[in-house]
Symmetry: C2
Subunit: 363 residues, 2 copies
Amino acid sequence: MENRLSAPTRLEDIAARVGVSRSEVSRVLNGRARAGKSVGAATRDRILEAAREMNYSPHRAAQSLVSGRTNTAALMIVIDRQAKASPFLEDHDAPDELSPHYHEILGGLTYTLNEYGIHLMLAQCGGPNIDPNVAMEQIARSHTCDGLIITDMMIDDVRPAILDQTGLPYVVRGSSPQPDTVAVGMDNAAVGYEAVKYLYGLGHRRILFYNIRRELMVGQGRFEGMCRAREEFGLHATLEYRDDVHHQNGVYTSLLQRLQEPNIPTAIFAEDEISALGAERALTEAGLRVPEDVSVMTCLNARFMRLVAPHLTVLNVRLNEVASQAGHLLAKMVQGEVVERKQVFLQPILEERGSTAPPRGNS
Amino acid sequence: MENRLSAPTRLEDIAARVGVSRSEVSRVLNGRARAGKSVGAATRDRILEAAREMNYSPHRAAQSLVSGRTNTAALMIVIDRQAKASPFLEDHDAPDELSPHYHEILGGLTYTLNEYGIHLMLAQCGGPNIDPNVAMEQIARSHTCDGLIITDMMIDDVRPAILDQTGLPYVVRGSSPQPDTVAVGMDNAAVGYEAVKYLYGLGHRRILFYNIRRELMVGQGRFEGMCRAREEFGLHATLEYRDDVHHQNGVYTSLLQRLQEPNIPTAIFAEDEISALGAERALTEAGLRVPEDVSVMTCLNARFMRLVAPHLTVLNVRLNEVASQAGHLLAKMVQGEVVERKQVFLQPILEERGSTAPPRGNS
DNA sequence: CTGTTAGCGCTTTCAA
DNA sequence: TTGAAAGCGCTAACAG
């Protein structure tokens, strides 16, 4: 206690020093006082100067209490000992490891929300014996934030229903199972469709499609797109589909086994960069080259992966842009604008690099 | 307004319904009412039930205002159009791209703080015409959070001095230029030293050491460690040091040029995973193999990089653990515990993989 | 232009 | 065990 600092400055303190009332100081500091030419101008400057000298900074809780706004948006995340931080994590991941795709989401959200003067809070809804949805509802009801972003939607996700009851503005980053929701996501059907179409266009017929779990909206969407392409290009007999193995080791192991069977695929679509690398590892071990013997493609989730695996042909799913647009919408809703309750889908962008080529024997 | 929801439940509402006073409800809900066997027990249950039925959740701003606590910690980050989000980013990176090393920091911090019931807020201190330090000071003074974490320390960093004046608890993630600061970081000198020592132990004498900018504490620390090792192992003539080129393309270009000169190094230490891959690219293009012709090692900043570049020998700088320990300390400080104002350094852990080997001609 | 007053929702003495 | 009252720091309606 020896180094006790002087108590933080309040409006009251400035008022006392300048010799005016609290409200006057409040008005001046909030710009609600017209810069009239009369007496005001002088006191006005004295107030501003005093505020500066005294390092005044308004108490946010007090402001929030009266204004009803926190200037904060929350991103719901779940880190848990038991459950995983995200459906995208591997089983052996440490509990404090965030799924890599959060990286882009956080960047896009933080950057965009900042343009509206809104801070981002990570609403950790995990913990022992805690139902994430209950934790989320409490955050939503406690005026902790002005709005909420939820991600990683499941096909039976009840969070939109819960949040609708609370009245808190929220936006879904991704696809929502309920159509009547503000949501910004990737067109996952397009991802599934375009992947197959692209490989088909190169001449591939034997395609192995690794998908995300279909309990997730992403997985379901990609599945539907894949089905459409399979239909359109007549690949019923030759397009293999799997959504039961995941992550690097899962795909690696599964593919290694598959390669010992007949009619190996000439092209592989992997669910993400990490599993694409798992696929490549299996191919290499089996003595196959990419792309000469087998083509591999996947989605670009994080931009720095371009530096890490620059050879991969990818569909850029633009997580940062999705998050950014979600941020814009949420900011508008928080400001009271009425936003149409519908889903916005961005299109994936093909980035063709060295891991894909026409199959052997083709041109 | 047609779908107007009922106003959120207040203490008052519960009190009215049960027929007691606000204070009574407050006490019960906060467990400040002993579970006496007398009349209390009955009203107590009715209060709890009413609170549940009415979806009561305390208004955080109101609680904060009276308690003086927000149960929030903030991580200062700077995303800016002009400046870069982090000193570790490449020039061409988009403004909304977070430096990858934040990934581990965020995971470790969020996870640990959650154990104390503390949420993490990303305190974005960037923006056009905004001095990040001023923005930080305002956040510190406005009772937006109970504590602050600052990272990416520069050797002339003034943030500790600023924060000391505000009285807000804070901890430095990394090394602080001021010794009288609560800080948790990697032993950067050990990183520089151990890297050289390890390569020396393998038999390497011509070592090329790429370092982080020395304006950063990390760079300065590694430099000092490298110097000590250079001295100890008598490598004055053969250890090349550079801290003027960075990132993947910088290292790639620089190394490609170096390889055309005589006496090429037999081992390279790169500042991070991304630049290590740049170094490997240059080596490959020059017809050199890793590790047969040249060894490459770097630091492990993000754990998932093990999956992405599993062949790299690394010094694990354990960013998540550093962040986690920083979180523990901050939580204690927030709770009023007196924490010794000194710096804690974790040791890097060598993870030997396939990118390093004894130089040609050695055993 | 400026001061007075009330009140945001909660916690916490202090009495009863 | 419970209620009444004060107050956290701020904003805004209403007088003057």
